[in-house]
């Protein structure tokens, strides 16, 4: 190991000494020029230092060997690739720590010289920053040229984040626990070293392709649990079964004839719009999670009482997509963009819900009695069930 460490130091000492000599004065001068309050200087200095070492050293540790034709020399050494890799990783981590410390020190000095109030180092994005720096090292192994390492790392980490970001976008309100986020962020650090090592081992018998395929496969294997976790959380978030103990019925309407109820319910996740057949107890969720039934003006069509079901998606952020359901049959009979601006809908919600005469409203939260129909009361019970009260007898209609 010691000869390899010496070799790495000797091979890269010009870069490291360059960082040591140039980085502090450059950061010091640059940060002095930044207007006060724009950025926390110590954090900015540390970030610049980390990035400098990652770009200058991490991106070139392996591509440099390829470029100079020395990789074959390393590959045939009896010590194997393990010692070679360990020396490179140690040198890189040491250089990252040194460069970050120098950046921090220079920025802190700039802060003092400028007479600005001391700001503590912000560690919020430390795992991402360190992880990204090490991923540059890992991704560089797949490439013939170190210059491509930074954009390729951005692509790789973007590909990691994108599916999770999309899942969160598609499930408004879904939040990941802070502990899970921390595990994912910190896992980037050892993950990068693992991918780097296995990618480097891929060089034993061949060139960049073997390394890239192996590295990508390991990367995929590393990313998959994170994607799976978020997908599972999203699945839980979207999962809906009104029989679950966690489910609550928030609001509802009963259509003409009293057979179909149109409910808004949630099981700890987003709202679900339900059409319930009160006669059989069967139910179906309509639309997508997040949709809800609303009572809107203009639902009185052809004398038939209907319920408008609106989705959250908007065409141009001003209109809502509406599905109209027949109150008597529970079937959808019309869809289209509303003429109403979103703000109007929100305003109307804030004021009061429009309710046609024939359409009783069940308002669970206020425990208001919903509807009297031929001496029958249909109402919520404990926000979990719908019951029918007739002649003093109570019958549970939903869920059954």
């Amino acid at each position: 190991m010691i000869p390899h460490l010496w070799k790495e130091w000797r091979d890269h000492r010009a870069v490291i000494l360059g960082i040591v000599a140039l980085l502090p004065p450059v950061i010091f001068a640059a940060l002095l020029l930044i207007p006060e309050g724009t950025v926390a200087l110590p954090t900015a200095g540390a970030a610049i230092g980390l990035a400098a070492a990652a770009f200058a050293l991490g991106a070139d540790l392996i591509p440099g060997e390829v470029r100079r034709g020395t990789l074959m020399f390393l590959r045939r050494l009896p010590g194997g690739l393990g010692a070679v890799f360990a020396a490179k990783a140690i040198l890189l981590v040491g250089a990252l720590v040194l460069s970050t410390a120098l950046g921090f020190g220079a920025a802190s000095l700039a802060e003092k010289v400028a007479g600005r109030p001391a700001v503590a180092l912000d560690w919020t994005y430390a795992p991402e920053a360190l992880g990204a720096a090490l991923w540059i090292f890992a991704v560089a192994m797949w490439l013939p040229r170190g210059e491509l390492a930074v954009p390729a790392t951005a692509l790789c980490l973007g590909a990691f984040v994108l599916p999770m970001r999309l899942l969160l976008e598609w499930n408004p309100g879904l939040k990941l626990p802070a502990s899970a986020m921390d595990v994912g962020r910190w896992a980037l650090v050892p993950g990068a070293l693992l991918v780097a090592w296995l990618s480097f081992r891929g060089r034993r018998f061949g060139g960049a392709w073997g390394s890239a395929w192996r590295g990508l496969a390991v990367t995929l294997a590393l990313f998959t649990p994170a994607w799976g976790y978020v997908a599972d959380r999203a699945g839980d978030w979207r999962h809906f079964d009104p029989r679950d103990a966690a489910c609550r019925l928030d609001w509802g309407l009963v259509g003409v004839g009293g057979r179909y109820a149109f409910l808004n319910a949630r099981c700890g996740g987003p709202n679900h719009a339900l059409v319930v057949d009160l006669e059989t107890g069967s139910w179906r969720a309509v639309g997508t999670p997040g949709d809800r039934f609303e009572c809107l003006p203009g639902t009185w069509i052809g004398g038939q009482p209907v319920v408008a079901h609106t989705e959250e998606s908007t065409r141009d952020s001003r209109h809502v997509w509406q599905n109209y359901y027949d109150g008597a049959t529970g079937e959808r009979f019309k869809s289209g963009w509303s003429d109403m601006r979103m703000e109007d809908v929100e305003a109307r919600r804030a004021k009061q819900v429009y309710v046609p005469r024939e359409m009783p409203v069940l308002h669970a939260r206020d425990r208001l009695l919903g509807f009297l129909n031929d001496g029958t009361t249909i109402t919520f019970r404990d926000q979990r069930t719908i019951v029918r009260i007739r002649d003093g007898k109570e019958e549970q209609l939903f869920p059954r």
Partner: protein, 232 residues
Amino acid sequence: MIEFQGVSKRFGKRVVLDALDFSLAPGVVTVLLGRNGAGKSTLQRLCLGVLRPDAGRVEVCGDDPVRRPRDVRRVVGYVPDKPDVYDWMTPRELLRFLKPQYPTWNGDRATRVAEQLAVPLDTPFKSLSRGEGMKAMLMAALAPDPQLLLLDEPFAGLDPVAREDVLKGVIRAGGQTILCATHDLDVAARIADRVAVLSRGKIVAHGPAEEVVGAGGRAPERMREILEEAVA
């Protein structure tokens, strides 16, 4: 010392070694002849375990170089066709770097070879001539007292004086098992106990040097004949 049984190696669609059978006895200097691209370097890299055969079995000094590369590389010296070490490194630094990796390191031998070949020990490789660099590589390969010395066209591109120096270095390594890949018939004539001719991924001739390449000035013609026979 070396045993190849049905070894095949391809790069993409190009078959470099095709079900090759080849063996090398201890203490024998064998010259591996073949045209450029015949697979001589591939064969040597298979011996070092830096390439994996697609089929067949390779055994070097009793070990499988793919499964036990460390054991194999510790007893095998290798000289590439050009110095492929760090250009800032001096031959002395190269020896210092390699020494801990070889349990059989023989510093005296390294010193002796350096003196015999007049290797400038404290000049970085980037400042050495091609011949000096090759002599330094030969010195580094001999320093661990290897059981087997692999030479991958070490004379290519050298001027006559440097070529002669390197050749002397190889000859002085007498008693060593050597597999020297070259397309230089003069080299074969001067150092080889046995000659193997590699063509189209197969050994097309293998035997005592005088039988395979003939004596004296007939060598080039004989070589041509062998290769033409193989192509036919």
